[in-house]
Amino acid sequence: MWLTMMIAAILFAGMLAALHFGYREAEKERAERPAADAIREAPPVNPWLGPQSPWARRRTVEEVVFEVEHRIDADLQEVAHLLGWTAPENASRLYRV
């Protein structure tokens, strides 16, 4: 009984040590890699998520144009606010009351 427990404990400690040293080795390798390589070899975006996923609804051209215009409009409104412009001509179209 005691012998079995000791063997299990030794195996468990060995497993922890292997994990620790393996992790350290991987971290060291990653730290030594040039930043440019790290950026170039960045993991690809998960193809099953986001707008490119196979089940994502395909957008129409009109929807994309609407989104772009909406974004420009929202940005312009915020920019006008940040620049302290209060003249009505600088208010955005979508958010104008």
């Binding site: 144009v65 772009v68 940005d75 312009l76």
Partner: protein, 160 residues
């Protein structure tokens, strides 16, 4: 609304005296455009300057979306705003396209005639050019801020 009243409230002609406004109004014609009508396109030569009297116009630029070219709105302008100020600034190339969003009434000034007036009457030229600098500076600030935001978005997305 008369041409004089329109000019009184126009961003480019604010600060002119009554007499000076009359001189400008004397060379202004009228143009009407139906909703949806294109007034001018980006890259064309700016042969005239427009002031919106009534209605609304969109400034747009062409964008490729999924293989199709679409005009995307950058800004909407209403009464008193100027269209095609490139007519006053060499090389007189239009930097955006414009189309009528609603039925539109415009004052139109031929480039040749308005430039001649500004040349002949320096006090008018000084006021108009000063106002124009404000209009162009506002556009510059807007575009600069939008550009910085786009760069920041790209950097944030690329280097997460």
């Amino acid at each position: 609304m008369s041409a004089l009243e329109t000019l009184k409230n126009a961003e480019l002609f604010g600060g002119l005296s009554e007499e000076q406004r009359r001189a400008v109004a004397a060379l202004a014609g009228e143009r009407r455009a139906a909703a949806g009508e294109t007034l001018f396109r980006l890259g064309e030569s700016a042969e005239a300057l427009y002031v919106i009297r009534r209605g609304r116009a969109d400034l747009t630029f062409p964008l490729q979306v999924m293989g199709e070219t679409r005009e995307v709105r950058f800004q909407s302008l209403e009464a008193g705003r100027t269209l095609a100020w490139s007519a006053l600034v060499p090389p007189h190339r239009l930097t955006l396209s414009a189309s009528a969003t609603t039925d539109l009434e415009l004052l139109v000034m031929e480039r040749r005639r308005i430039l001649a007036l500004l040349d002949e009457q320096p006090p008018i030229g000084q006021v108009v050019m000063s106002n124009l600098a404000g209009v162009v500076a506002a556009r510059f600030h807007e575009l600069l801020a939008l550009w910085v935001r786009e760069v920041q978005r790209n950097v944030s997305q690329t280097y997460r």
